[in-house]
């Protein structure tokens, strides 16, 4: 089943083409990683797919709904965990989760059950009454993902979820992301090759707004005649593979 179908998606800012004619299909339950250097167009792509910014041309369909014409329907299906942690710092972990329940119209017993379920599954029980602004980077990221999962999204966008985390916190977050695989469709952007290789079913490499290559990690390495994904990435971005 196609969860996301992107057709010639383009975003221009004055003279700069941030995303250039992107075409891609992501299947239901798949974890798709978008790799690319800074300015490659990853975040702009996610912003267009999550209806935060309008495409200049082209369109994308999430579970059949157009991001250009059916933004409200798309928003009811998705959740975003942005590059920054995007939490309310003076609110406790529990209050942050209640905020997200409230804005999604989840109240009463369902709200309590949802918060209990997410704090358990993301290991937030021990910090539930701590203010979000006082949490470590790893816990802030967990909270950020928990806030995104409140609405039971069909599609989850994780924009560089492990940026700035130490090795242990990153490994723990990988386990959380792995636990979501197959249950929802995940689009993950990252700078870390090992992260994409460890988590993603398929990887897309972007450069200068274009999708340069798509495939499983091994397929990309084979295409670039490289031993590691990092080598393959460098070769592809420098134009060594067409």
């Amino acid at each position: 089943m196609e969860a996301i179908k992107i057709e010639n998606l383009t975003k221009k800012y004055k003279d700069v083409v941030a995303v250039d004619g992107l075409c891609l299909t992501v299947f239901g339950g798949e974890l798709f990683a978008l790799l690319g250097v800074n300015g490659a167009g990853k975040t702009t792509t996610i912003k267009m797919l999550s209806c935060l910014t309008a495409p200049t041309s082209g369109d994308a369909f999430l579970m059949g709904y157009s991001v250009s014409k059916q933004a409200a329907s798309v928003k009811s299906l998705i959740a975003v965990s942005p590059q920054e942690t995007a939490v309310a710092p003076a609110l406790t972990v529990q209050e942050n989760l209640r905020l997200m329940c409230g804005v999604h119209g989840i109240g009463g017993d369902k709200q309590n059950a949802k918060i209990k379920e997410l704090t358990n599954s993301l290991g937030l029980e021990g910090v539930i009454n701590r203010k979000a602004g006082k949490l470590s980077g790893g816990y802030k990221r967990r909270l950020s993902i928990a806030m995104a999962l409140i609405s039971e999204p069909k599609i989850l966008f994780l924009d560089e979820p492990t940026l700035g985390l130490d090795v242990l916190a990153r490994s723990e977050l990988w386990d959380i992301v792995r636990s979501l695989k197959g249950k929802i469709t995940i689009i993950l952007t990252t700078h870390y090759m090992e992260e994409a290789e460890a988590l993603a079913d398929r990887i897309g490499i972007m450069g200068e707004g274009k999708l340069l290559v798509v495939g499983a990690a091994q397929e990309i390495k084979d295409a670039a005649h490289a031993e590691s994904l990092e080598q393959a990435f460098v070769t592809i971005v420098k134009g060594g593979v067409k």
Partner: protein
Amino acid sequence: MKMLTFANRNAKEILRDPLNLCFGIGFPVVLILLLSAIQASIPVSLFEIERLAPGIAVFGGSFMTLFSATIISKDRQSSLLQRLYTTPLRPIDFILGYTLPMLPIAIAQSVICYAVAIILGLKLSVNLLYAIAFTVPIAVFFVALGLLFGSVLNDKQVGGICGALLTNLSAWLSGTWFDLQLVGGAFKDIAYALPFVHAVEMERAVVVGNFLAAIPHLWWVLGYATIALVAAVLLFLRQMKRQ
């Protein structure tokens, strides 16, 4: 329901910051106490409580701009707003959610200000209730300015523009600290073209029960509040679209 959840969060975020409480509530109270102490020690009428309290009540309102601009600016920078833009919240929910919690805070601030003034000798009368009610359009003006600045500035710029520049402007051009007639000239003309002195003179008139004298000043305040609110909504929607 969704808007109220967001508004509730914003109120908590502001009230849990001890600096906000210090500046929003504490600073105006300290000013009233200090200037009243000065008045008690000098032979001329410079800071009589009937004229001082309305001025401080208006000056305190300028902190509402700082509070609302800071929270919006930080929400933009932390991407919390970006996250919330992908939820079912509508643009009107964001605007009301940021504006409404500020109004009870502003009213509470003016209640405290007049309560301290009563302790210092301001005559207790029903007019004070009207004076507190008349702070609502002033609060709307200051909160709208906060929405406007928070939509375009980062939190450091907000600190400079709203925390330093606006509070000083609203103080110097309000006629609270000195009589603008004595300065005269362009300074007085500029002051009377802005809403701060009108807000103070409106409050002063209401405190003594001279409602007819308050009406012309009320129009100035309402006019500026409307312009600020419209500009704020347009700029907020613009930054929302620019996401």
